[in-house]
Amino acid sequence: MLIIEQKSLDEMYRDALQSFPDECCGFFFGKEIGEERTVTNILTVNNSKEGDKKRRFEIAPKDYLNAEKFADENELQLLGVYHSHPNHPAVPSEHDRIAAQPFFSYVIISVKERMIADIRSWQLNDNLQFEEESIEKQSINQNK
């Protein structure tokens, strides 16, 4: 299960809406305890895809290295990657699957007509196929 703190959720939604109609992308960090992953920090990054950003995203290697550094320096785990699907469901494409890494959670935010329509998270299984993981949205009050 992926538990996303409200402020992190808000940051991802803001990025998805501001980037529309292009795809946004970024990393998220937190802690993994047993089967639960709690997202506490977001790092938005530039979609470095050259060409059609309305249906593709790419993260530059230097941004990836910065994300690993951020995790190290803040004693957090790099838990995964988020990106948006403008005017498209929050379901991974074959292109998403081929490029996906093990371990990471892949959060997809569906944006329709400048509104957040859905958010879902996916992980590769041992057969390199995506499986959905549940998301729990955690408000700050619940966290205390």
Partner: protein
């Protein structure tokens, strides 16, 4: 020995080790040694022909090996090698 930095998503295949020291003369040798010691890494690093997958970037210092001598890039004692997964995707 050269130091190789394992990215977070691949650490579950290296007993959660982030940094490894490997003796080799070039990048190809480092990757061979790595996949020999941690065979579960193979399908994530190499394609069916045994070449480094297109979705995996290897950096020697700050430079992508594609801008150096690819897998034949020589390695020295103090070399730091980073495996950098390509992060990409999109709705179609």
């Amino acid at each position: 020995m050269a130091t190789i930095i394992i990215p977070t998503p691949l650490r579950k295949f290296t007993n959660n080790t982030a940094r490894l020291n490997i003796q080799a003369k070039d990048v190809k040798g480092v990757v061979n040694e790595l996949t020999f010691n941690f065979p579960d890494l193979k399908k994530h690093l190499l394609d069916e022909q045994g070449n480094i997958r297109s979705f995996v970037n290897v950096f020697v210092g700050d430079e992508d090996i594609r801008n150096l001598q690819q897998e034949q890039t020589p390695i020295k004692e103090e070399t730091v090698i980073s495996i950098v997964p390509a992060i990409a995707g999109g709705k179609a």
